[in-house]
């Protein structure tokens, strides 16, 4: 079956990215937010992102119009009932996600698959909040969603093969490559990248090299498209911190212990690309504009 439409709950950065990617790939999207203001903000952000794509020659103005025509906002869960797959992209907190999954389970027809985008919570535990644990699955997108070719498809304990097949088809319809993950904290990408980020921060804190030079070394030395500090800024430093704390707690391994430099930046509200200031400074399009922060944050 061809995937025609999806429902998205929550249109923060992650939700917007999914909405945009789906629309660009010819899929009709209904997205739900809690108020008209939130809907409007999300829609404007998507328009800006598409304008940016035009500036980068990636699409034409008429394609932008066609993409936007596939996107509908709503404040009601009812409007998601007729979509082929539902994906929740609300804040990655147990109370929020479990509540949304629970509500969706009551409203969405029984045969539909519900996808969670959580990068830290357990798919199996979320599934227990529903009457259809076999139809709950995780999809971990990397940011920025429209640009990253990967999605980790996360099978919970109860997830059926059919549900996995739907999620895989969904990933392909979005133009992404899926890797199959059996639920475990951090999946693959988060688990493998975090120790690298922590070690990079530790290296700077020990005065071995500057932020800029660590990034330069890793880019040129290993052909990384971006250095570890830029990667951290793109991921969002608050999310990096949360993930590290989460994995430190879950796995008890000190390699996930958050470095002090990270805590300081997060406390200062410097969260990376999304606040335009992290280890580096950025413009509204997420492009690096300035040099790295100085040694004083050590």
């Amino acid at each position: 079956m061809r995937l025609r439409s999806i429902g998205v709950v929550g249109a923060g950065t992650m939700g917007q990215g999914i909405v945009q990617t789906a629309a660009v790939n010819g899929i009709d999207v209904v997205f739900k937010e809690i108020s008209r203001e939130h809907l409007e903000t999300a829609r404007r952000a998507i328009e800006t992102a598409l304008d940016r794509e035009i500036d980068r020659w990636a699409i034409t103005p008429s394609e932008k119009k066609a993409h936007l025509s596939r996107i509908t906002g709503t404040e009601s869960y009812d409007d998601l009932r007729h979509t082929d797959v539902i994906i929740e992209a609300v804040e990655d907190l147990w109370d929020r996600k479990s509540e949304v999954i629970h509500d969706l389970d009551l409203i969405i027809p029984d045969e539909r698959v519900i996808v969670t985008t959580s990068s830290t919570l357990s798919v199996s535990e979320l599934a227990r909040e529903t009457r259809r644990p076999d139809k709950i699955i995780g999809m971990h997108f990397l940011r920025p969603v429209p640009k990253r070719a990967l999605v980790e498809v996360v099978r919970g304990f109860h997830t059926s093969d059919d549900t996995y097949a739907v999620a895989r088809r969904f990933a392909e319809a979005l133009g992404k490559t899926a890797v199959e993950i059996h639920e475990y904290p951090g999946f693959v990408t988060t688990r493998v990248i975090l120790p690298l980020l922590a070690e990079a921060m530790q290296t700077v804190m020990e005065g071995v090299a500057t932020v800029e030079d660590v990034d330069r070394a890793m880019k040129l030395g290993f052909d990384f498209p971006a250095g570890p500090f830029q990667i951290a800024d793109q991921m969002g430093l608050d999310d990096v911190l949360n993930s590290m704390e989460h994995l430190f707690q879950e796995l008890g391994d000190p390699k996930f212990r958050p470095p002090a430099i990270l805590r300081r930046l997060v406390r200062a509200g410097h969260l990376g690309v999304k606040t335009r200031q992290g280890f580096f400074s950025y413009n509204e399009f997420g492009e690096k504009t300035g040099g790295a922060i100085g040694g004083d944050v050590k």
């Binding site: 061809r2 025609r4 010819g26 009709d28 980068r56 020659w57 990636a58 699409i59 034409t60």
Partner: protein, 414 residues
């Protein structure tokens, strides 16, 4: 014979039902029975149009989610008691499919059997945007019309006569062997049709003629047809090379592209869109990809529009000169396609100054607002003749389908 011609895109199906046969082809008496299209396949409001000569257009907007439903709809419309033109699908004698890329495997149209289908699939790599939809259209149409012959007509086939010195790029030969990178050329059915018409109109065997055809539409290409065979054509590995087009750059130094990719930090897909959708007449003028709008703007003094027109004509003129050189002269120059058939200005500007090589356009004939259809627009004394010939690719597909069915074009190996 009644031949259904299908042109399946990724989200559209265009179709024509044409009455034709060897006799009718000879008498030019083949006839359009009906035509139409299904657009926006995959949406709940697809757009179906159906035109029968002499009747009002029929239009509907049903939910059509896939090609199978679209082609079933076409079959039903053709037989519809109220809007249709035939009583039973069995009245259709054959289906002709437009297939964009035939790679190096197909130098002619062919009946489709399992082996041909397999080879068509092998060409997907060369035309990932077009061939899959063409093949999907065939697969579905075969199920709906299982008992009649299906024929594939390739955009690239006509150019398979090009010799290696014109179709190879000067890259390491291994690139051609590994990845099939070479000039294929497109618009083959249109160029072939124009050459065929010149032969018929002049009564001179094509083996005697050196013809340059300029297909100027959404996409633009020119072709050097030497003694009946495509010797060279402007489009290359993809339809991006050669002439300036509505939104495509045509020829450009590949190193310039690499430079822009590096400087603007573009992804391959972005660079691809830059060259295919943001360039050409649109990119230069900043106004439009539509030649009519550019001519209007230029007439009002818009310099960017004028520059786009100048560049378009200059590029074409260069190729006319090059192809005359390649053939040792030119006997006929043909303009076809939307711009080629309708823009007297573009025709005049493109051959301006080419009297030295025997091409003299007659300004009055060229600009005659009453003139329609096939016509000569060169002066009486012009050594080479200049023509406007409205192209008809669907007719070529229908005719080739008949030729394959009756065996004039030999069947493929089993």
């Amino acid at each position: 014979m009644k031949i259904l011609v299908l042109n399946c895109g990724s989200s559209s199906v265009k179709f024509q039902l044409i009455e034709t046969s060897l006799e009718l082809i000879e008498q030019r008496a083949d006839r359009l029975i009906a035509k139409g299209s299904v657009e926006k396949i995959g949406s709940s409001h697809a757009i179906v149009t159906f035109d029968v000569p002499g009747r009002e257009r029929h239009r509907e907007t049903p939910e059509i989610l896939e090609h199978r439903v679209a082609i079933e709809r076409v079959a039903r419309l053709l037989c519809d008691p109220e809007h249709g033109v035939i009583g039973d699908p069995k009245e259709i004698d054959g289906v002709g499919h437009r297939v964009v890329h035939g790679g190096e495997k197909f130098a002619n149209s062919t009946l489709i059997n399992d082996r041909v289908l397999h080879e068509m699939k092998e060409c997907i790599e060369l035309a990932p945007l077009h061939n899959p939809a063409n093949i999907r259209g065939y697969t579905v149409a075969r199920q709906i019309f299982p008992d009649i012959p299906h024929v594939a007509v390739f955009d690239t086939a006509f150019h398979q006569t090009m010799p290696p010195h014109s179709y190879l790029y000067a890259l390491p030969r291994v690139i051609h062997r590994r990845h099939g990178v070479r000039r294929y050329g497109f618009h083959g059915t249109s160029h072939r049709y124009c050459a065929y018409r010149i032969e018929k109109i002049t009564g001179v065997d094509r083996e005697e003629l050196r013809i340059i055809t300029a297909h100027l539409g959404n996409g633009c290409s020119a072709c050097a047809i030497d003694h009946g065979k495509s010797l060279d054509t402007t489009m290359g590995f993809t339809p991006l090379e050669g002439l300036i087009m509505g939104t495509r750059s045509g020829d450009i130094d590949p190193a310039a592209v690499l430079h822009v990719i590096a400087k603007e930090e573009l992804r391959l897909s972005e660079a691809n869109t830059l060259l295919n959708k943001h360039s050409g007449l649109l990119g230069i003028s900043g106004i439009s990809n539509d030649m009519r709008e550019l001519q209007t703007a230029a007439a009002k003094g818009n310099e960017d529009a004028q520059l786009a027109i100048d560049m378009f004509c200059y590029r074409l003129k260069k190729y006319i000169g090059a192809y005359a050189a390649a053939m040792g002269g030119v006997d006929h120059l043909v303009f076809t396609g939307g711009i080629g058939e309708n823009s007297a200005l573009i025709r005049e500007r493109s051959v301006d100054g080419l009297a030295f090589m025997g091409l003299e356009i007659d300004p009055a004939r060229n600009a005659d607002p009453e003139a329609r259809g096939e016509r000569q627009i060169s002066t009486a004394t012009s050594r080479a003749k200049i023509w406007v010939i409205p192209t008809d690719e669907e007719l070529v597909i229908a005719r080739d389908t008949v030729r394959c069915i009756v065996g004039v074009i030999p069947p493929p190996p089993a």
